[in-house]
C-alpha cells in the first residue's frame, strides 16, 4: 500500500514542493537539545498558579515556578523531597506546627519588575505572599480549597480582606496571619488548625508555587501570560492556540539529577545521569492539539517526543488481544509506559435510601447481590479495550493502601450469579427459577453520554440475569451532583480523582461528618470508620497506618456503599531518542530531568 502511494504521490509532491518548499522553518541546531511535548487541549488558561486549576495550567506553571516540596521523580510509591527548601520540614510534637528552612541559593530570574532588572533572592515573605494570594478574591478563589480551614488565622484573614475589597479598599497583603510565623528571611513556621499530614502534599501542588510580589504588582493581569519564577526554565513564547516555548534558565541554581531510583528506573538505565546539572535540555516545546489525529501523526513523524496513545490509534500501536506494543513499534525502539491514574470510578449507593440503603444484614446482602451481578471483565473488554484496572476497595493503584494485585479477600467483585442469588435470599427476597420476583426497580442516576448509556445497558443486562430491574436516569453532570447533594439518588455512577497520592483523599468520601452536601455522597456512617479516619489524618507512614487503611477498606467491603472500582490507564509511547522520561500524570515539573540523544540514528534532527 505504502509503496503504491510512494510511487503515485512522489510526482505530485515534487510539483507541490516547487511551490511550497521554497524555504521551510530552520530546524533546531544540532547542538541544541529540545524536548517536544504535546498538550491535548487548546492550551493552558493561565500561567498564574493562583488562577490555575487544570493539568494544562500545571504543565505550564511547573516549568517556571517552584514549590517548597516536590515529588521524587524516580521513586514509587511517590514520596516528597525539598525543592525550594534546604531540608524536609520538621513537625512539632502535637503535629500542628511545621518548621521550614529555605535554600540560600534561590533567585528569581532577571526581569524589569525588579530594581535594576536583577532578580533577587527568594525569601520567607515571598512564600507567605504567594499563599495569601489564594485568599484574594481577585483570583476568583480558584485554588482556595487547597488551604481552606488548614492554617490558623488564614480563613479569618480571607474574610477580613474580602470585606475590605467589598468596601472598595485594596487587599492588604501585609496584614498578618496568625499561623504564618517568620523567623528570618530563610526560616519560618506554619501553624495548622489541626494535625494534618496531607498539608505536605498540598504544598507540593503547583497552586502553592512561590512568585515575587514585584512581578504581580508590575504586570497586573498580564501575570497570566508572563512568568517571573525561580525554576529551571523561562517562558520564551506563548502562541495562543498553537504552543509554548520554554528555554533553559541560565540563572538556575545548582540542582542535580536525582540519586534515588526505583528498581524500574535502574532496569531502564535512568540512573546513568547521576550528577548531571539540571535542566538537561535547552528547550521545551509544548504543542497544543485539540484533535488526536494530528498529534498522532506528529508523533509518528518524530516531531513530538512522547504521546498519550489516543483511543483511535490503539489498535495501530497495540495488539488488542494481548495489549502488547506491536513488534514493528518495539523494533523502532519506542518505549511503552502504561500510567495508571489515581482514579476511583464507581457505582455508589445512598445509604439513607429506603430500598438500597441501611446497615442491617439484609440491606448489606441486597447491595452485595447487586455488586456480584456485574461482569467487570466484559465491561472492560467491550468498552475500554481491556485497559483500565478493576480493583477492590476505594484506594486507587499507586497509592499506599491499595490492595496487592488489586484484589481484597473477601470482596464483592462479580460476576458470581450463584452467590448473588444467595445474597438476595439473605436479604429476604423471593428467588424463583434464579430470578428475584419481589424487588422493585432500582433507580440509577448517571451522567448523559453514549459511553454511560452503553455501560448502563450492560449493567441492566447483568442484573436482569437474577431478575433485578434497573431504572436508569441520565442527567447532566450538574443535575447529578445536585441530586446527590439532596440525597435523591438511590444509586449513582461517579468518579473521583486524587489530587495527591494519599489514601486519605479517597477515604474522606466515607467519613460520616462529610455527608451530603459534603464529599460523602454515599451518606455512609460508621463510628469505627470515622475514628480510624480521624487517626490517619496525622499518622506517619508505617504499620499502624497500613493497618488502619486495611481495616477501613474491610469496613467498606462489608457494608458495600459502592462497588466496581475502576482506574484508567494511559498508554504512553516515548521516542527512542528520549532519555530518562519516567512518565507520570501526577506532577509536571519533570522536564528538567529529561535528556535528548541527538546522536541517536533515528533522531529527526
Amino acid at each position: 500500500m505504502r509503496a503504491v502511494f510512494d510511487q503515485t504521490l512522489k510526482a505530485p509532491l515534487a510539483i507541490l514542493a516547487v511551490v511550497a518548499s521554497i524555504l521551510t522553518a530552520a530546524p533546531a541546531s544540532a547542538q541544541e537539545k529540545v524536548f517536544h511535548h504535546p498538550i491535548r487541549t487548546a492550551g493552558p488558561r493561565t500561567m498564574d498558579p493562583a488562577y490555575g486549576t487544570s493539568v494544562y495550567d500545571n504543565m505550564a506553571a511547573s516549568q517556571v515556578y517552584e514549590t517548597l516540596l516536590q515529588y521524587k521523580y524516580f521513586v514509587r510509591p511517590l514520596e516528597l523531597e525539598p525543592l525550594l527548601l534546604a531540608e524536609m520540614p520538621t513537625t512539632s510534637e502535637d503535629g500542628r506546627t511545621y518548621s521550614f528552612k529555605l535554600r540560600d541559593d534561590v533567585y528569581f530570574t532577571d526581569d524589569p519588575c525588579f530594581p535594576g532588572g536583577k532578580g533577587r533572592k527568594l525569601v520567607t515573605d515571598d512564600v507567605f505572599y504567594s499563599w495569601k494570594r489564594l485568599a484574594d478574591p481577585k483570583y476568583q478563589l480558584q485554588a482556595w480549597p487547597k488551604l481552606a480551614g488548614l492554617i490558623v488565622g488564614l480563613d479569618d484573614f480571607k474574610e477580613e480582606q474580602g470585606a475590605r475589597v467589598d468596601d472598595g479598599k485594596a487587599f492588604d497583603y501585609a496584614a498578618p496571619v496568625k499561623g504564618f510565623r517568620k523567623i528570618s528571611d530563610r526560616e519560618f513556621e506554619v501553624e495548622l488548625t489541626e494535625p494534618n499530614r496531607q498539608f505536605l502534599w498540598k504544598i507540593a501542588t503547583f497552586q502553592l508555587s512561590v512568585l515575587p510580589h514585584e512581578a504581580v504588582e508590575r504586570y497586573g493581569d498580564e501575570i497570566n501570560r508572563r512568568m517571573v519564577g525561580s525554576g529551571p526554565f523561562k517562558l520564551k513564547e506563548w502562541k495562543p492556540n498553537v504552543g509554548m516555548t520554554f528555554v533553559k534558565n541560565p540563572q538556575y541554581r545548582e540542582m542535580y539529577y536525582p540519586t534515588e531510583f526505583s528498581d524500574e528506573a535502574i532496569e531502564r538505565g535512568w540512573d546513568l545521569e547521576e550528577g548531571s546539572r539540571l535542566p538537561l535540555v535547552d528547550r521545551v516545546e509544548y504543542t497544543f492539539f485539540v484533535e488526536d489525529q494530528p498529534m498522532w501523526l506528529e508523533f509518528k513523524s518524530g516531531n513530538i517526543d512522547a504521546v498519550q496513545t489516543p483511543n483511535s490509534a490503539f489498535e495501530e500501536a497495540f495488539n488488542p488481544r494481548n495489549k502488547r506494543l506491536r513488534p514493528e513499534w518495539r523494533r523502532k525502539g519506542i518505549d511503552y509506559q502504561p500510567v495508571a491514574l489515581f482514579d476511583f470510578i464507581y457505582r455508589g449507593f445512598n445509604m439513607d435510601d429506603e430500598l438500597v440503603g441501611g446497615y442491617t444484614d439484609e440491606k448489606k446482602a441486597l447491595r452485595r447481590a447487586i455488586a456480584l451481578c456485574m461482569d467487570w471483565e466484559e465491561l472492560n473488554n467491550s468498552l475500554y479495550d481491556g485497559i483500565p484496572i478493576i480493583y477492590d476497595g476505594a484506594i486507587p493503584p499507586g497509592i499506599p493502601g491499595h490492595p496487592d494485585n488489586h484484589t481484597m479477600s473477601p470482596n464483592n467483585r462479580g460476576p458470581d450469579l450463584g452467590r448473588a442469588r444467595e445474597e438476595l435470599k439473605k436479604a429476604g427476597y423471593n428467588v424463583v427459577n434464579g430470578k428475584v420476583t419481589d424487588l422493585p426497580p432500582i433507580e440509577l442516576w448517571t451522567s448523559r453520554g453514549t459511553q454511560q448509556e452503553k455501560i448502563t445497558e450492560l449493567f441492566q443486562r447483568n442484573l436482569a440475569k437474577v431478575g433485578i430491574s434497573l431504572n436508569p436516569r441520565f442527567v447532566d453532570f450538574a443535575e447529578l451532583t445536585k441530586a446527590l447533594d439532596r440525597s435523591q439518588a438511590s444509586m449513582f455512577g461517579l468518579a473521583w480523582s486524587s489530587a495527591y497520592p494519599d489514601a486519605e483523599y479517597n477515604l474522606q468520601l466515607f467519613y460520616g461528618p462529610n455527608e451530603t452536601p459534603g464529599p460523602n455522597q454515599f451518606n455512609f456512617k460508621n463510628d469505627e470508620y470515622d475514628a480510624l479516619y480521624e487517626k490517619i489524618k496525622y499518622l506517619e507512614p508505617g504499620p499502624e497506618r497500613d493497618a488502619a487503611y486495611a481495616r477501613m477498606q474491610e469496613i467498606l467491603v462489608e457494608y458495600v456503599p459502592f462497588f466496581g472500582s475502576q482506574a484508567r490507564v494511559r498508554q504512553w509511547l516515548v521516542q527512542p531518542w528520549v532519555r530518562n522520561f519516567k512518565v507520570t500524570e501526577t506532577f509536571y515539573n519533570y522536564n528538567k530531568y529529561i535528556d535528548i540523544d541527538t546522536d541517536h540514528p533515528d533522531y529527526p534532527g
Binding site: 505504502r2 502511494f5 510512494d6 504521490l9 512522489k10 509532491l13 515534487a14 507541490l16 514542493a17 511551490v19 511550497a20 518548499s21 521554497i22 524555504l23 521551510t24 522553518a25 487548546a42 488558561r45 493561565t46 498564574d48 488562577y51 478574591p137 476568583q140 478563589l141 480558584q142 474580602g162 493581569d221 498580564e222 501575570i223 497570566n224 501570560r225 508572563r226 502562541k239 495562543p240 492556540n241 498553537v242 504552543g243 504543542t287 497544543f288 492539539f289 485539540v290 484533535e291 489525529q293 494530528p294 501523526l297 506528529e298 509518528k300 513523524s301 518524530g302 516531531n303 453532570f477 450538574a478 451532583t481 445536585k482
Partner: protein
C-alpha cells in the same frame, strides 16, 4: 449608490439589533457564571464573578452595556478562559490566521470552479462534461473530514515519516507569515505560509470544488440557452468568444452571490481545518470559547460575526448592480 448603501445600512439596523438581542438572551438562558465555574464552585466564587462581569445588574442595563460596547467597538473585555487576554486581543490576533486559509481557498475554488464549469458547459453532454459532473458528485459525497485525514496523512505525515526528500507541508501548526505593523512591524514570508497553510487551503479547495463546479455548471448551462447566445452564434462569433466574453459576464451574478454568501465564512474561518491543522484562527477561537464556556468571547465574537454577515449581504446587493446594469440601486 451611496444613498442606496446608506438606506440598506439603515434597514439593517433593526435586524442587527434583533440579532444582538437574540444572542444576549440566548447566552443567559443558563446562568453563564455557573456554567463556567461548574457545579463545584462555591456561592462566593459565583457571586464574585457575577459582580465582576456586571451580571448582577438588571438585564436592561446589561444589554445597554453590551450594545454600547459593540457599537463603539470596545472589546476591552477580559476573557474568562484565556486569563490576561481581552476579547479585542483575541479578535486581533486570530483574524489573520483565518484569512490566511480562507481567502486563498475561496479565490482558488471560485476561479477553478468557474473554469471547470465553463469547460463542462463547452463540452456539454460529451465525455469530459460527464466525467467532470461525476467527479463533482463524488467530491461532494465524501466528508470534509475524510479529505482532511487523508490529506494530512498522505501529503504531510507520510513524507516526513518515510524521510522523503519532498516533505513540504507541516502536519499542523502555524507561524506568523505576514506582519501588518504593530510590535513586529511589516514582513512577508510566503514560504512560511506555504509550509503551514497551503495544505489546508488545497484541501479546502478540493472539498468546495464539487459544490462550486456543480453550481457554476448549472449557471453556465442555463446561460447557453439564452437569446443573446443564439444571436451571437448567428452572427458568427466563435464558441470560445461567446463563452468567455459574452456568457461569462452575464453569469457573474450567481457567481457573485455565491462568493458573497461565503464572506462571513471567510472571517469565521474553516473551523474543521483550523482545528485539525492547529491554525489559531477565529473559528478555532470560538469553538475553544464555547467548549470552555468563555461567555465574554462568545458574546462579542457572535456580535462581530453578525455584523460581518449583514455587511456581506449589503455588499452582495451593491455588486449586483455593478455586474448587471438592469439592476437599479434605487
Amino acid at each position: 449608490m451611496w444613498a442606496y448603501i446608506f438606506r440598506k445600512l439603515l434597514y439593517n439596523v433593526p435586524v442587527y439589533f434583533g440579532a444582538l438581542l437574540l444572542v444576549f438572551l440566548a447566552l443567559r438562558v443558563q446562568d453563564p457564571v455557573y456554567a463556567y465555574l461548574g457545579p463545584e464552585a462555591t456561592g462566593e466564587e459565583v457571586e464574585r464573578l457575577r459582580q465582576d462581569m456586571g451580571l448582577d445588574k438588571p438585564v436592561v442595563v446589561q444589554f445597554g452595556v453590551y450594545l454600547s460596547n459593540v457599537l463603539t467597538f470596545d472589546f476591552d473585555i477580559p476573557s474568562w478562559n484565556q486569563k490576561g487576554y481581552t476579547v479585542g486581543e483575541i479578535l486581533s490576533r486570530s483574524w489573520i490566521p483565518s484569512l490566511s486559509i480562507t481567502v486563498p481557498q475561496i479565490a482558488l475554488s471560485t476561479v477553478i470552479g468557474v473554469l471547470i464549469a465553463l469547460l463542462s458547459a463547452y463540452f456539454r453532454g460529451r465525455f469530459i462534461d460527464r466525467f467532470l459532473v461525476i467527479a463533482a458528485v463524488i467530491g461532494m459525497s465524501i466528508s470534509f473530514l475524510v479529505f482532511i485525514v487523508f490529506g494530512q496523512f498522505f501529503l504531510a505525515a507520510l513524507p516526513q515519516e518515510e524521510g522523503w526528500e519532498f516533505a513540504p507541508f507541516a502536519v499542523q501548526g502555524y507561524e506568523h507569515w505576514i506582519g501588518v505593523g504593530g510590535e513586529e512591524g511589516w514582513f512577508l514570508r510566503p514560504s512560511v505560509w506555504a509550509h503551514y497553510c497551503l495544505l489546508p487551503v488545497l484541501i479546502g479547495v478540493v472539498v468546495s470544488m464539487g459544490y462550486d463546479t456543480r453550481f457554476y455548471r448549472a449557471v453556465m448551462v442555463e446561460e447557453t440557452g439564452r437569446d443573446y447566445i443564439t444571436t451571437a452564434t448567428a452572427k458568427g462569433a466563435t464558441k470560445p468568444k461567446i463563452m468567455f466574453v459574452h456568457m461569462l459576464k452575464n453569469a457573474m451574478i450567481p457567481v457573485v452571490t455565491r462568493v458573497m454568501s461565503t464572506l462571513p465564512f471567510v472571517v469565521v474561518g474553516s473551523i474543521l481545518l483550523e482545528m485539525y491543522f492547529s491554525i489559531p484562527g477565529m473559528g478555532r477561537e470560538i469553538i475553544t470559547a464555547i467548549n470552555a464556556r468563555d461567555f465574554p468571547v462568545i458574546q462579542y465574537f457572535v456580535a462581530v460575526f453578525a455584523l460581518i454577515f449583514i455587511i456581506s449581504v449589503i455588499l452582495t446587493d451593491v455588486l449586483y448592480a455593478v455586474f448587471d446594469p438592469r439592476v437599479r440601486l434605487s
